[in-house]
Amino acid sequence: MNTDKARKLLQMCYLQAKLAIDTSEGQVNLITAYLVRLSELEQGLRVKLEANEDSHSEMDELRQIIFSIMTEFQFFDLLKQRTISSINPLRDWAEKGVVLDLYQQDFIDSYATAEQREVYRVLMEKNSIVEAIIELNIQANNKNNTTKSDDIEDDDAIFF
């Protein structure tokens, strides 16, 4: 394969993933707008049903479900940042050529989460992607093993 073709393929991989993320972000924003409307309706209903004590537990559950969906939707922010930091090197290689040694530190620097750094560490240690996936799946089943010592481990806010 010649260099131009290889670069085009790298650009295509970047573009496909970038467009998928952009489209998904639009959908997530749309769902979020529906959720916001749902929460407004819930607040309106709560006022109307204030006197009806039988409905309080259902209203509380509805509110809890809305909170839970919004909380879970934070996955997209993580997914987006993780994907972007994975595809940006493809774009850079297409532009500058693949010189792995020069980019290795850039990889590590662009990995913002403990999970990303762990994937990097495991892949460097193992002989193949299959071995790395097995190891990472084992770790995923035992989350205590995935947090590295150089990461912030507090569940609460950290006050300076």
Binding site: V28, N29, I31, T32, A33, L35, V36, S39, R63, I66, F67, M70, T71, F73, Q74, F75, F76, D77, L78, K80, Q81, A112, T113, A114, R117, D150, D151, I152, D154, D155, D156, A157, I158, F159, F160
Partner: protein, 120 residues
Amino acid sequence: MKKILVVDDAASTRELIGYTLKDAGYDITQANDGVEALEVAQNVIFDLVLTDINMPNMDGISLVRYLRRLPGYQSTPILLSTIESGKSIKVLGKQAGATALIIKPMNREVLFKAVKRMLG
């Protein structure tokens, strides 16, 4: 009613925070990035600023630095939120003048507890 400025480029996160804090009785204003937040903060003094770090146009760390130079924001509590769990981000946040840091994904209880502690 205490006024809180919520800054995040992810609409779903902004709405989560907005919904949670509005429900707790706070007056919420949202901004999409640091530039928008700075414009809003020049006209309104907020009691607390909650900002994401990784944003386009102006990131959260730069926003903290700019806010600290604005009249009325020298001692305003600023809570950073980020998916970055490396210790270097904690150092950066502290140096910029932030008050605290919260790691995403955050849940309602952790967020509420942090805000309550900062606003008394």
